[in-house]
């Protein structure tokens, strides 16, 4: 048994204080001359045994209350006396270690991270079971159970070092269960060390019920103990790259970034940001207001045609793991669009709007017929504009493959209702405005991202000025990016594989709308042309720990750091042959939401469960819930003691004799009643 405040235990002799006070109290009696001794002696003899018993009980409860107070103040470890030792030693202890990026947050006022503190406490607790139990480590990055020789070696294992990964608690628990079954383990305890980050625990997933039910159904006893290191860290900010786009404008190229910033304090101040691009650094300051912000940034690449890599870095704070975001960008890629249109005027507008950007005069998009789609060469195409009857059969399959590879397909109205759908989306009735004055207008659309987002200069596209005389309804499940004022969708999106499908309700035709004027249609299609360029690029960004099995077989070398790094655990830029990939911590790791304690406990259903809340203190040891037990016991003892010393039913006080009552015997002899 160990204590957080062992010095308080020197106060243990104080438990004799009530006895000493009692004895002193008896010695300090005063003398009183007394006449009615006969009643005193008789009363003492009659009530001595009962009174002595009550007095002994009172003393006992006072002693126990002081004892509980001292134990409460000495803060006994939950992992010690009552918490761990009283339970029989298990055959196996499976330690589930969450070493995700969020576990690298430093505890307030220290340089110790949550992971280090959890490891230290787990090692201390496991040390007591070294003789009796096997210790198995299961961490979140590999989820491969590994038997550990001794508790003291836990902190020095490479499997317990910091990572940029995310944790999947239900999957870890499932791995632990599988190990228990495969190894036919006896009684087991599962010790979980985690910061209770909600995105790691995934409480809404049905896997929890399944794995808990399986654990409960095991023939051996399985006990779960959770060490929650969820103290809120000091000021911390995180940066992540959401989008990197290479834009070619003539001979000049530029990179456009969309960054997300998140921090745990709400303030309005300037945040320094370092941008590293191919080894060169630049310092920026961005004004941040509130806890979260989406920031767009553009960096000129000049005439550089090759690809490269870079990173964004925030100054050091409570969690150094979320201060960096890496990116890579590919070389200049020729972009091609293909237009399929049944209407000549609309087709011409669409060809011009999706013209290929380049150094020389713009080359209009290639126009093909539906029959040619199947035969066309798609190697350089990134955008398909379709203004025809809904594709079917082999053509539809060809388009589907194109999109799944990363391409973008935009469907414009065929000007007639169709029953056929493509990936759940289809066309409804053609609607015509009653008059030019009552033309349809688009008043709201997504200006943050997508093809209708604001320009680099922060200007909105003039979509509100576009007049729609006719439109065709879009049917099916979709994500609406822009809607007419009556709520009908103008532009919708569906993702398919790596690519996207868009449906636009208007046509660039004079009978339909003023879309053909260009200020909206051109940027919209140009952005979609750029977005489809990912089809021609290999995956350039991946979340740490989520690299595909194929890629994992390749040899990856770190580009951003001099010392070798493991792409499975560490964020950074890695190269394998000609291919570069940016490995970043998963976006979910930046989410600040934490599990509630009650909800966490409910996840484990009927499994024997104990939660220990880590709280930092000078000794860096564990404070469990066990102090509550002593506090409760002390209060109970005090209440019992108070009940024992409460005066019993008071006898009637003596009555001052007043006027004598008439005698009852008829003799007239008066009696005074006391």
């Amino acid at each position: 048994m160990s204590f957080l405040q062992p010095l308080v235990l020197w106060g243990l002799p104080l438990v004799l204080l009530p006895v000493i006070i009692h004895l002193i109290n008896r010695l300090r009696h005063r003398s009183q001359s007394w006449a009615a001794m006969q009643f005193l002696i008789s009363a003492t003899q009659n009530s001595i045994s009962q009174a002595r018993l009550r007095q002994l009980l009172v003393l006992l409860f006072r002693v126990l209350a002081v004892l509980m107070l001292i134990l409460f103040l000495s803060r006994p470890l939950a992992g010690g006396w009552l918490g761990w030792v009283l339970a029989p030693a298990p055959d196996v202890i499976v330690v589930l270690l969450d070493r995700s990026a969020s576990m690298e947050a430093r505890l307030p006022g220290t340089t110790v991270t949550r992971r280090e503190q959890a490891l230290k406490l787990i090692s201390q607790a496991a040390h007591e079971f070294e003789e009796t139990s096997h210790l198995v480590l299961l961490e979140n990055a590999l989820r491969a159970p590994q038997e550990v020789a001794g508790a003291s070696s836990l902190a020095s294992l490479s499997l317990t070092t910091a990572t940029d990964t995310a944790a999947d608690l239900p999957a870890m628990l499932q791995s632990a269960l599988n190990w228990l079954i495969e190894n036919r383990a006896g009684t087991a305890e599962i010790w979980i060390a985690s910061d209770l980050q909600r995105s790691n625990w995934k409480p809404e997933e049905a896997r929890w019920k399944s794995v808990v039910a399986q654990l409960s159904a095991l023939p051996q006893t399985v006990r779960v103990r959770l060490l929650a290191v969820n103290q809120e860290p000091e000021a911390n900010a995180a940066v992540s790259v959401q989008e990197v786009t290479r834009r070619q404008n003539g001979s000049q190229a530029a990179l456009q970034f969309v960054l997300d910033f998140q921090r745990n304090v709400s303030a309005s101040d300037l945040m320094p940001l370092t941008v590293n691009l191919d080894g060169a650094s630049a310092q920026l300051e961005l004004a941040m207001d509130g806890q979260a912000m989406r920031w767009r940034h553009k960096t000129d690449l000049g005439s550089q045609r090759a690809g490269g890599w870079g990173s964004f870095e925030l100054p050091a704070d409570a969690n150094p793991r979320d201060n960096s975001a890496f990116f890579v960008f590919g070389p200049e890629t020729p972009l091609r669009a293909r237009v399929v249109s049944r209407d000549a005027q609309s087709g011409r507008f669409l060809e011009l709007a999706s013209a290929t950007p380049g150094n020389g005069p713009r080359q209009p998009a290639e126009r093909v017929t539906p029959a040619e789609v199947q035969k066309a060469h798609w190697e350089e195409s990134t955008l398909l504009v379709w203004q025809e009857s809904m594709p079917t059969g082999a053509v539809a399959e060809q388009i589907r493959n194109f999109v799944e590879e990363g391409g973008v397909a935009v469907f414009f109205p065929p000007a007639q209702p169709e029953a056929q759908r493509f990936h759940g989306l289809g066309w409804g009735e053609v609607q015509t405005a009653a008059s030019a004055d009552k033309a349809f207008r688009v008043l709201r659309w997504d200006e943050d991202q997508g093809p209708l987002a604001k320009t680099d200069e922060g200007l909105s596209l003039p979509l509100a000025q576009v007049v729609f005389l006719r439109r065709q309804a879009i049917t099916g499940q979709k994500s609406v990016l822009a809607a007419f004022e009556d709520g009908a969708p103008f532009l919708v999106r569906q993702t398919l594989g790596r690519g996207e499908i868009f449906f636009c309700a208007g046509l660039p035709h004079q009978d339909w709308s003023s879309l053909g004027d260009g200020p909206v249609l051109v940027p919209m299609l140009q952005r979609l042309l750029q977005a489809g360029s990912r089809r021609l690029q290999q995956v350039s960004s991946v979340a740490c720990g989520e690299m595909s099995a194929t890629d994992q077989r390749r040899r990856w070398a770190s580009v951003d750091a001099a010392s070798p790094k493991d792409f499975r655990f560490q964020a950074g830029v890695y190269r394998s042959g000609e291919r570069m990939v940016a490995v970043n911590r998963p976006a979910l790791e930046d989410e600040p939401e934490v599990m509630e304690l009650g909800a966490t406990e409910r996840l484990f259903g009927n499994l024997p469960f104990q939660m220990l809340l880590e709280t930092r203190n000078r000794t860096g040891q564990l404070q469990g819930e066990i102090w509550r037990f002593f506090l409760s016991a002390m209060l109970i003892f005090l209440v019992v003691e108070a009940m024992l010393i409460l005066p019993q039913r008071q006898p009637q006080p003596s009555r001052v004799p007043g006027r004598p009552l008439p005698s009852a015997n008829g003799t007239g002899v008066p009696e005074a009643v006391p």
């Binding site: 109290n25 008896r26 300090r28 009696h29 005063r30 003398s31 009183q32 001359s33 007394w34 006449a35 009615a36 001794m37 006969q38 009643f39 005193l40 002696i41 008789s42 009363a43 003492t44 009659n46 009530s47 009174a51 009550r54 007095q55 005066p647 019993q648 039913r649 006898p651 006080p653 003596s654 001052v656 004799p657 006027r659 004598p660 005698s663 009852a664 015997n665 003799t667 007239g668 002899v669 008066p670 009696e671 005074a672 009643v673 006391p674």
Partner: protein
């Protein structure tokens, strides 16, 4: 008031108020001279009682000759005799009477009561005597009607001091045997002795046809027994002491005390003795006024 007497027990204003109400007995008394009190004897007096037939042996001088002359029948005319009163004050001078609470000792209260009553009795023409009883009888002053006798009583009261164990029970038996003629006996004590023996004394006194009134003197501390901390109780009448926790035994103590008081009261009721309880923090005038008024009411009825 007797000149030269120690009158520290007396209050002139209290006496003036109480003198309006004479002290009467509840039963006929046998005195030596005429007085305010009924006598058990019939004879010539001013107060006609009844006619009765002559029986041989009657004194023929008491025949009513007028009736004989008119009717030829022998009748005796009887009158109620009224006589004076002899009162014995019995004061318990045991050490327990020296118990001092916040309002003085029980003996102090007894002195005031006895002195005031003695003054009233002598001034209404009756005789008052005093018996101070400690371990044995300390002072025995026979009843006298002389006002100068009061001085003796007051001096004796002054000299009476609490000491030793109580010898009240043998003293009362002795008094019952010694006083042959009917008298008023007033006993002032805390009666902290064996209740059965005490009641035997009362029965003995009543058997001798004495009018008996007992004043039980108690202190508020004895009745309430309110103590906070452990106390060493030292017996006033012996060297015995007892350390105890009053809070623990209070309930039992009060139960015992009330049982004793109830038994004493019931015994007095049974033997037709008048029982009065006097607490040291009470006004002694009220105690005496209640006593006198009740006796007067009884006499009228």
């Amino acid at each position: 008031m007797a000149d030269g007497a120690d009158t520290s027990f007396l209050d002139a204003q209290v006496l003036a108020r109480l003198m309006a109400q004479p002290l009467l007995t509840r039963f006929p008394m046998e005195g030596t001279v005429s007085g305010h009190h009924k006598s058990p004897h019939r004879g010539s007096s001013v107060e006609f009682a009844e006619y009765r037939n002559y029986v041989p042996g009657d004194d023929i001088r008491r025949l009513d000759w007028r009736v004989l002359a008119r009717t030829d029948r022998f009748y005796l005319k009887e009158f109620e005799a009224e006589t004076n009163l002899r009162c014995y004050f019995v004061l318990d001078c045991s050490a327990s009477m020296g118990f001092a609470g916040k309002s003085g000792t029980k003996l102090d209260l007894a002195r005031r009561l006895i002195a005031t009553l003695a003054y009233l009795i002598v001034h209404q023409g009756d005789a008052a005597g005093l018996l101070c009883v400690g371990t044995k009888t300390v002072f025995d002053i026979p009843p006298r009607r002389n006002p100068s006798h009061l001085q003796t009583i007051f001096k004796t009261l002054k000299k009476a001091a609490p000491h030793g164990e109580t010898g009240l029970i043998p003293a009362l038996h002795e008094l019952a045997e010694k006083v042959r003629r009917r008298a008023l006996v007033l006993i002032f004590s805390d009666f902290f002795c064996e209740a059965g023996a005490l009641l035997n004394c009362f029965q003995h006194l009543r058997f001798q046809k004495h009018d008996l009134a007992v004043f039980q003197l108690l202190d508020r501390m004895e009745l309430d027994f309110q103590f906070e901390r452990p106390v060493r109780f030292v017996d006033l009448e012996s060297a015995f002491s007892l350390v105890t926790e009053p809070a623990v035994i209070r309930q039992e103590y009060l139960r015992q005390l009330h049982a004793f008081l109830s038994k004493l009261r019931a015994g007095c009721h049974e033997f037709n003795a008048e029982y009065r309880q006097a607490v040291t923090d009470q006004d002694y005038e009220k105690i005496l006024a209640g006593f006198l008024v009740e006796r007067a009411r009884h006499a009228r009825s």
